[in-house]
Amino acid sequence: MIPSEWSNDDWLTALKADRETAWAALRERVLQGLLAYLRRSRPGGLQEEALRGLADDAVQETLLTVRAKLDDFRNESRFTTWVHRIAVNALLGDIRRRRWKQRAVTDLTGMLPEWPLEKRPDPEREALQREMWAIVRTLIEEELTDHQRGILLAHVFDQKPLDLVAADLGISRDAAYKSIHDARRKLRAALLREGITLEKALEAFQG
């Protein structure tokens, strides 16, 4: 039995000594944490059995990672929170990969849509909304590099997971995020030059 108030040192000592009860307790703790999240968020409307399968897979991966990285823990948080973070990464990565199983390779030459929303513009505000989108669209096409625009299109407009976009392009997730960051900076400067503030943009696009 593992006391709920175990310190980081207690956990590390027990796990490094390969105490079976400690690994079992950690496994159960991670599993319960993931199930709590999954039951609340219900990705893809999955039922209990499927959620359990997702959680079990993530727990397995997590314990392998924790075993390999015990010496990397820097005591900058509770040990169990650090472990939960590894578990959440494993779980969400799996969920996102499943969503994109049939994915196409990221196309950096994709075009921005004439109208970006699933719903048509509000009839009473159609002119304003179309005018605002036309400006934003033109700036995205003219101000960004092909690389920045391609990543923005894939990740923001196609909602492709950033890890998968990065993998398609043979770059790191951080590099892909940096491209989006650079794109945002360019777009903000360009929008402000056009006299468009956040308030104006939100007012135009709000329903």
């Binding site: 944490g33 923001v156 696009f205």
Partner: protein
Amino acid sequence: MLKREQLLNLMQSIFRVREQEIPCSEFFELLPGYVDLVLRDEDPSKGGASRGKDPSPGLPEPARSQVAHHIVQCQECKEAYEALLQAARSTE
């Protein structure tokens, strides 16, 4: 195609952008400490990050505000934050 909320979020992310932002890898390194602080703030009587025999590790500025900013700028990292918060909270 986007939902209206996603388009609004895109516009907000453009105008909220800072000159310097932490990348996702650094965010993930700092996230556990940030979540500990959030949980402590939710219920200070339990001691949050200092529960058990551990000293409170804390998360000094500017790291704390950098993590908070990344959460609003990166939707996937926001999802990870919410999942971690839920998982950690449920096993208190």
